[in-house]
């Protein structure tokens, strides 16, 4: 490749990243920013009347959007785009996995169901199963990332955000990005293979405007507020079933009492099942970050941080725990906190 080729690739990838802002399948789409704002405003208007605009004012501060932590979010977003574009074509494809799995399922004797089931039932069943499996697997992987030190080493990049903006959702280490890809490959591969074997030619996802209906509703109803300075609680009754923005902000809280809670994405039932659900509040005032030097680290330091973190752990007291790969990340986090100099 010549310099011109590299330049072309760079511009193409960066423009694709920016095009996420108008892509309705991406959470950072402007459409969802706007809908989240509208959603929050209506809810606050209903709850606090004239006080509603004041509660949203933090979202309109340049101090938030140009905070050093937010700038690291942007850099990781664009940097990951470049790194993942190099990795993705080389990794195994979902289509390949589904094809192979479906073939194996047929070989062990699984065949299309003998009875005729209407298309809409298959679509509804597939969409429901996909939603549940996808949401649970996200929860579980997230839970593991806090539980296993060598996974936490990568995930703490996300938690090092000192301010939360909608772009914090993209503040991710590329290795974690690959883990997300592997999770999605496994979930999509197994579920699609099973369904197309049982219901060939009938399987489809319930879509709105080219996006899975659950993703669309989740995003349109303010998913972007999860990573924002605006705490919105759904009230205890609803928060037993759905994770509110305030609950996710608790998950990001630097306070020890909030460690390892609310891992869920959409449903709160998984957190209840794993006994780690905490309720949020519109009034909560939280401090975010890992309370380690990572919170002040720039983008390159963030990329290298897992190596340093694991190296330190292997040389120090954590070595034995890492070997068992069953470190309680809450404790690990707390240990970090006590080791780190307070700001």
């Amino acid at each position: 490749m010549t310099t011109v080729d590299y330049g072309g690739w760079l511009i193409n990838e960066l423009s694709l990243a920016v095009s996420d802002l108008v892509n309705p399948s991406k959470r950072v789409s402007i459409l969802y920013f706007a809908s989240a704002l509208f959603f929050a405003f209506v809810l606050f208007l209903f709850r606090y009347g004239k006080g509603a605009p004041r509660r949203l004012s933090a979202l309109f501060s340049w101090r938030l959007w140009w905070h050093p932590s937010a700038r690291v979010d942007y850099a990781l977003w664009l940097g990951n785009r470049l790194i993942l574009s190099l990795l993705f074509p080389k990794v195994i494809t979902t289509l390949g996995v589904v094809t192979w799995l479906m073939f194996q399922l047929r070989e062990v004797g699984l065949s299309p169901l003998a009875m005729t089931i209407p298309d809409w039932s298959v679509i509804a069943l597939f969409s429901l199963c996909y939603f549940l499996l996808d949401d649970f697997s996200r929860f579980w992987l997230h839970w593991l990332m806090h539980r296993w030190s060598w996974l936490w080493a990568f995930h703490r990049v996300h938690h090092s955000a000192k301010v939360l903006t909608p772009f914090t959702v993209l503040r991710t280490h590329p290795v974690e990005g690959m883990l997300f890809y592997g999770r999605s490959l496994l979930v999509q591969g197994s579920l699609v293979a099973l369904f197309v074997t049982l219901f060939p030619g009938q399987v489809s996802l319930l879509m709105i405007g080219g996006v899975f209906v659950a993703t669309y509703v989740f995003n349109i109803c303010g998913a972007n507020l999860r990573h924002s300075p605006v705490p919105i609680s759904y009230g205890k009754t609803l928060e037993r079933w759905l994770i509110s923005p305030a609950q996710h902000q608790l998950h990001h809280s630097a306070a020890v009492e909030h460690y390892d809670c609310n891992f869920g994405v959409v449903l709160a039932v998984w957190d209840r099942w794993f006994r780690c659900l905490q309720f949020g509040s519109d009034q909560q005032k939280l401090r975010y970050g890992t309370l380690s030097t990572l919170d002040q680290t720039g983008v390159f330091g963030q990329y290298l941080s897992p190596i340093l973190f694991l190296g330190r752990g292997l040389n120090g007291r954590q070595a034995g725990l890492i070997k068992t790969t069953l470190v309680n990340a809450g404790k690990a986090k707390a240990r970090e906190t006590t080791q780190a100099k307070p700001e």
């Binding site: 996420d20 399948s25 991406k26 959470r27 990951n80 785009r81 993942l84 574009s85 990795l87 993705f88 979902t94 289509l95 589904v98 094809t99 192979w100 479906m102 073939f103 070989e107 597939f126 996909y130 996200r138 997230h142 996300h158 914090t168 959702v169 993209l170 503040r171 991710t172 590329p174 974690e176 990005g177 997300f180 999605s184 999509q188 699609v192 293979a193 369904f195 197309v196 074997t197 219901f199 060939p200 030619g201 009938q202 399987v203 489809s204 996802l205 879509m207 899975f212 996710h248 891992f263 994405v265």
Partner: protein
Amino acid sequence: MKKTLLTAFIGASALSLHAQTYDFAVSLPDYQGDASSSVSYGGQIARHALHNSLKKASKSGDLALMESYFSSKAEGLSILDPVSKKGFAIKQSSIDELSKGKDLKSSAYPGTITGWPGNLTGPEVLQQMVTNAANTKGGYDPVNGYDYTQLISKFTMGAVFYNKAVNDYLDEKLEADVKPNDKPYSKGAPYTGKEHVWDEAFGYFGAPINGLELTPKEVVQIVKLNPDYFAKADANKDGVVDLKTEMAFAHAYYAASIDASGKTDYFHTILQAFYDGRSVIQDAKGKVLSAAQREELKGYAKVIGVAWQQVIAEAAFKYAGSVYADLEKIAIIEESNGDVKKAYRNYVKHWGELKGFALSLQAAGRDLGRTQSQLDRLIGFSPVLFGNAQVVAANSKGEFTQSESVTMQEYKLNMLKVQNLLSSHFALTAKLNDRTGGMDDVLEQLKSGPSAEND
């Protein structure tokens, strides 16, 4: 008043229907001859008749007979297919009535065909198939798993008709400096250079001139010479079906048969583009085409090229599904210790159709990139044979060498991959005989691309 309006409406409808017929008046201002139509593609229809006849002859074991239709350019050849039958009279019975001195071999794609053993060019592959077919009974070679009738027929359609149309007439011959529109194609001809080039491509597609008025199902039945559809076929009501203007051949038939599933409209899409493109040339009234007109023409040529390629890919997709089903049947019969002879015969036939169409995709100078090598590897040089062997090479005499391969059951997985590959690369819609359960459509819905969204 109402009646007058209705009459005017019917009149206008009839006129618009008439206008959709692929027939155009002479546009050359200085033309002195008697012809009223400028459309002529007798040579292409002659080759269609040669191809149909060669397909029949391929089962005879008579090399001389096959060669006469394949490469001889001989006069006095009778048409072996289609021939008149009760309730379906055909106007022509000899090749000469369509055009003289034509053959198939000299028009085949001259590039290397990577999907066939021996590093041969298009004409060489066809020649080898024809020669080998003469040494078999009924064009069937059970040892190597070749149905030459299918291989010859399907590959000829691609290497000759598809290649000449999209790789020649609708490509380089649309440039400004070749076959200009302000001169007769040849001295005294009633058509211009560009008119004839476009018409020759239309002829190779193989549709009747009133195709836009026919449904895909009607086209299929006309090709099958179904007497119930004779009236539909005989558009000019002269009591016979003229092969030049009233019959469908080759890929036009396959386009219609795929469209008959109701999911696609390849036949009419291609025909409409041919008609609209020809109208652009006609509107130039025998003058040189402007750059804008040629661009418009190239736009129609692109529509034709893409849809034509999709038709071939859809056909390959369908037969990959048939091969998969055949292998399932063979496994079931083998389990019960039954006779697999008939199932194996069908397997070889369907594989021949799959291979013929897959080879066609690479026989028109279109860069298929990685898809070409993937198709070659997944399908192989032959079907997987009993004993888990496949043809891996051929010598200069056209004798094949076999070697150990995957099992027949594992070969089914290859067929699934072939269907996925064809579907994604060529953006297929009809996908007949789909054995993948429609997985690529579901995955398309789930597609997210490279991003690292956290929770």
